[in-house]
């Protein structure tokens, strides 16, 4: 059962990483990257590294996601040919 857990987690990691790079829309890619970070937290937990899992949960899931989403919004708002409807 351990082996099945690890293999499934590895497959989910690889698939989300691949979709992150392959989706055409940058907003979707960022959300998939957040999902990748959450899955990576589980991977650190499986690798008996709770301190790294703690750092990844705080940084990879919270901080990096917020930074990337903010950057996407800022780039989109300043793009000239597309009027981002600011509400």
């Amino acid at each position: 059962m351990n082996l099945a857990f690890d293999l499934l987690l590895a497959a989910a990691l690889l698939w989300s990483a691949w979709r992150t790079l392959a989706t055409p829309q940058i907003g979707r890619a960022v959300i998939l990257f957040i999902v990748f970070g959450l899955l990576l937290t589980l991977a650190w937990a499986r690798l008996d590294a709770p301190d790294i899992a703690l750092a990844e949960a705080a940084i990879g899931a919270g901080l990096t996601g917020a930074l990337l989403l903010d950057a996407v919004a800022a780039l989109r708002a300043r793009r000239p040919n597309m009027d981002g409807d600011e509400t």
Binding site: A10, A17, W18, A29, L47, I52, A55, L67
Partner: protein, 116 residues
């Protein structure tokens, strides 16, 4: 096959995926994402291979912990640079300056081609 070995192999594949993304993708945000994936792959290899016969080795774990924090700082810096680059030049990718890879130019070319 232990879980360390499985995740080390996953880390290898992630590194290759991220490297391909960094080399092949044009948009800056995507390159930053690919760079982060590459770093995560390297971290997985470090921790996974350090876990011989069940007992984890604390030194690579400390290195990876530092590396994660540094990666976030580097990502924040890269995002700031990308925003500044877009504010200065209006572009979201880098190529050679004056290259036809720019998004606005290819749009113009399409528009020129369209009426015929």
């Amino acid at each position: 096959m232990s879980s360390g070995l499985i995740f080390a192999a996953t880390g290898c594949l992630l590194f290759v995926l991220g490297l391909g993304g960094v080399l092949l993708l044009k948009a800056l945000l995507r390159r930053i994402l690919a760079f982060n994936l590459m770093g995560s792959g390297a971290f997985l290899v470090l921790v996974g291979l350090a876990q011989r016969d069940g007992t984890p080795d604390p030194v690579p774990q400390a290195m990876v912990l530092t590396g994660i924090v540094v990666a976030v700082a580097a990502t924040a810096l890269a995002l700031t640079l990308a925003r500044r680059w877009q504010a200065l030049t209006g572009r979201e990718d880098i190529g050679r300056v004056g290259d036809a890879g720019s998004r606005r130019r290819s749009k113009q070319r399409e528009r020129r081609k369209a009426p015929r």
